[in-house]
């Protein structure tokens, strides 16, 4: 007897796995920014560009996951 059936692409699972790392990374970036701002509120403006740079550099890994999911959706050749 068949109780349940799941239909779809395993790419979704793959992307879920790929998003773990950037998720943790983005969390760390913002955690560090909040901590540094709490310790030294007047440094908030100075560190803000580095916050966004760090965020962007980490976030791109998750976005590569999205893009490559579509790029390799049709097997090569």
């Amino acid at each position: 007897m068949q109780l349940a059936e799941v239909v779809g692409s395993t790419a979704a699972i793959g992307y879920g796995l790929a998003a773990i790392g950037p998720g943790v990374g983005v969390g760390l970036v913002f955690a560090a920014y909040i901590q540094s701002t709490a310790r030294q509120p007047e440094a908030a403006r100075i560190t803000q560009p580095f916050l966004w740079i760090g965020f962007a550099v980490v976030e791109v890994l998750a976005l590569l996951g999205i893009v490559f999911g579509f790029v390799w959706a049709n097997p090569l050749g």
Binding site: P49, W52, I53, F55, A56, V57, E59, V60, L63, L64, I66, V67, F70, A73
Partner: protein
């Protein structure tokens, strides 16, 4: 068929795909593989709006600015002071016009993603971010070569101050990360954000239709799905502004890296 033509039909193609980004053309209405599409129109519109807006708001500059002039001045002032000068230093003023143009253009191109009836950003096609990233790439390479000379700049980029025996590992890594990944990630970041934003909106909008078509009992869920679409539109707006800012800040930071005196 694509989403543009079938969104109101009874049978909604549910899982949206990459096909939904290739809209049929406008001028001979509804044909594929003709170049004049909504994307082209939105590109021309964003260029036209930016040129006309800045020309009009600066035509009669006054000491006490009007609302239009104030907005134009504060956008330029923001990019000049908190991106160009803060990131690059005093020399950054030279690059403020380019950075301000970049910021305004990317913002304008992205905002089409949430403007009603436009609802797709030209930047969700890789070609536009790729060209922008290529311009920024050439700019910071050129600035570096001007400042340090050809070999000097290659030394700044490729050879970090490290003991000689570790260099065989470090030089390829630096080459890969500074000269290959930088332009690539600039382009892909902007593209993928716009792509994913449009995809999310499509999933929730079409998902609502798909559920209400499948079973009338699912109507509350599809209403929830459309409410989510509205919430995601606000999230998309935040991402749009952030991506325009990040692209500009990263360009400024790469230019700063080219201008810096060695490591």
């Amino acid at each position: 068929m694509t989403g543009q033509t079938t969104v109101l039909a009874a049978e909604v193609p549910f899982p949206p795909s990459v096909e939904d980004f290739f809209l049929p053309s406008i001028a001979p209405w509804g044909q594929h593989s003709v170049w004049f599409t909504k994307i082209t129109l939105l590109l021309w519109l964003s260029v036209a709006i930016l040129i006309i807006y800045f020309l009009v708001s600066y035509r009669k500059p006054a000491l006490v600015p009007t609302k239009k002039q104030w907005l134009a001045e504060s956008v330029y002032g923001f990019v000049r002071n908190s991106i160009a000068v803060d990131m690059i230093g005093k020399e950054g003023v030279r690059f403020a016009p380019y950075l301000a143009t970049l910021f305004c253009f990317i913002f304008m191109m992205n905002i089409w993603g949430i403007v009603p009836f436009a609802q797709i950003s030209p930047n969700s096609h890789i070609a536009f971010p790729a060209v922008l990233a290529m311009i920024s790439y050439l700019l910071f390479l050129y600035v570096g070569f001007r400042k340090h000379g050809f070999l000097g700049y290659l030394k700044v980029v490729l050879v970090p101050p490290a003991p000689w025996f570790i260099l065989p590992i470090l030089v390829p890594i630096e080459f890969f990360s500074n000269l290959i990944v930088r332009p690539f990630s600039l382009a892909v970041r902007l593209f993928a954000n716009m792509f994913a934003g449009h995809m999310l909106l499509l999933v929730f909008t079409l998902g609502g239709f798909a559920m209400i078509n499948a079973n009338a009992l699912l109507a509350p869920v599809s209403i929830l799905s459309w409410v989510m679409t509205i919430a995601l539109t606000f999230l998309d707006f935040a991402i749009i502004v952030l991506q325009a800012y990040i692209f500009t800040v990263l360009t400024a930071s790469y230019v700063q890296g080219s201008l810096a005196d060695g490591h």
